[in-house]
Subunit: 321 residues, 2 copies
């Protein structure tokens, strides 16, 4: 048996690969078989992470496993889909048992947190790279897309932004810091929590949604373009964590506006749903509104239009995705 066959058996035995609801046939045949309840659609998204592009060389394998799945699962949250399963295509330079075990532990931890079952995949030799395809289910016609925003809707986000961008100098080893604030930012970078429950709650309420990966301003631009409207953001309403403000100082707000890697939801919401949002999801914040027009407008504390900050810091995602 070759070492790659061993890897396959290793993943097939991982906790996240065990029988799960909605998975009629898991790892080990030519295809996996997924089962959908009547009236539901399958949501599918594919993400690739490449060493040196999306994460540093020699990453901690446990953290890499966690983060890779979280990034992919966040797209399910953005559609309002309930988690079902995922496939993992993994390219590694060599089959290192300890490395793989730690990776599988991180992956399984996040899979358990998200409610996603590993249903198949492929393992090949080559430069370290991961492609995850995630599957969710959503009642037909109820998925949250980017194109439904309406003038007058509120623009909201799922919580504090910028922590992952604030963590980047730490991730890259450009800065050393071991205090609790630094640890919190690193945790947000390596183990983002896909907002799956929030996404499902937003079905039938939000008019458009996505998950923030490129940065708030860039991603709001996607909603604006898809919906044919303008999104106006009041910069001082964007929530920042105390940890980010401690680590990033005056750059904290730019991290939140342009930094990326947040994997929190941004969504447009008719005002009638605001009381329910506040009651159910107190971490969510209204940061602006939807207007006739196009593009994204940024307002300062005085309500004046300002130029958006450039995403000037090094950003793993910027080169490749």
């Amino acid at each position: 048996m070759g070492e790659f066959e061993l890897i396959r058996r290793f993943f097939a035995a991982a906790p996240c690969a065990q029988p799960a609801e909605g998975v009629a046939l898991g790892i080990g045949d030519d295809c996996a078989l997924l089962q959908l309840p009547p009236g539901e659609q399958l949501a599918v998204s594919t993400d690739t992470l490449v060493v040196g592009v999306h994460f540093p060389h020699s990453p901690d394998p446990f953290l890499l496993g966690q983060r890779a799945l979280a990034v992919a699962a966040s797209d399910l949250a953005a559609m309002g889909a309930a988690p079902l399963g995922f496939t993992l295509a993994m390219t590694v330079e060599q089959a290192d048992a300890a490395w793989l075990q730690a990776f599988a532990q991180g992956l399984s931890q996040m899979a358990q947190d998200c409610g996603l079952a590993l249903v198949g995949g492929d393992t090949t030799r080559g430069p370290l790279s991961l492609t995850l395809t995630v599957f969710g289910r959503v009642p037909a016609g109820q998925a949250l897309t980017r194109s439904g925003a309406q003038a007058g809707d509120l623009l909201c986000v799922g919580g504090e932004l910028g922590d992952a961008a604030g963590a980047l100098p730490l991730v890259l080893g450009q800065r050393e810091s071991s205090g609790p604030a630094a640890q919190q930012l690193l945790q947000r970078y390596w183990a983002p929590q896909p907002q799956l429950a929030l996404g499902q709650w937003l079905r039938g309420r939000a008019t458009a949604a996505l998950d923030i990966s490129d940065g708030l301003l860039a991603d709001c631009g996607h909603i604006a373009a898809a919906s044919g409207l303008a999104l106006q953001i009041e910069a001082q309403r964007v929530p920042l964590s105390p940890a980010l403000q401690e680590i990033a100082g005056v750059a904290a707000r730019d991290c939140a506006l342009a930094g990326g890697d947040d994997y929190r939801l941004a969504f447009t919401l008719p005002a009638e749903h605001l009381p329910a949002l506040r009651a159910q999801w107190p971490a969510c914040a209204v940061i602006g509104q939807v207007l006739a027009g196009s593009g994204v407008q940024l307002l300062d504390a005085a309500g004046c239009l300002v130029d958006p900050p450039r995403a000037g810091y090094q950003h793993f995602g910027s080169a490749g995705d």
Copy 2:
């Protein structure tokens, strides 16, 4: 707009990315949405192809696009699934417009041949690598797995084997040949035809099936192991093309037995279905039978057990998958 955003728009405009039955939402949002008829399950398979491992450096992009999708779609055929769609995760060193256009043409050609719609994907910078996840649909409980073979079943294959293995010295540039036989083998290597219609016909008839990728003997070993039985192969009944015999000479049979990359189906069939198979699928051949026991037995023309040939030639798949 970055060059990778341009690639995404390029693929979104490709013929294979246009609206298709079963695809409720295609490229451009956080997820694609697939729709299944009531009572059907979704078949899913993921395959990765890495430059230098699964295909030569500097491949013809049109041929690479064709072959990558064919290899992935063959897993749908092996389950008896009807084709639905696929995602493409593509990692490239740089965005070369002419290269990408040729690649997309090859991909679209095979997508059209197979009836598969491009529903999403990801494009990143890095060493050339492709991960395709294919989706098909199959009536619940009717998928062809590897585990259902019964003692007494006939062992069959979907047509002539070994052409792709016979093409490898040509693909690798170890041998020059421009005659029609060489062209036929190269065509079989670069544009395998997934046996999707045969796979669907075998539903309710074959007891086990897979597609031959690792080589007939190795893949029959997978059916034997999953079914808990032995598979007996009569070497001289394995069909060989005249082109392969011309190019490979005495090595032709070893190419067919151990070569791999065939992407034809191997399946076990109760004898009662043989007349219908012969009538509908004349290219299929009975090459042996299922017996009590374990493993794969190879018989020579005199009916004597012989040792299987070693897969001795260079094989792109052998190092990584």
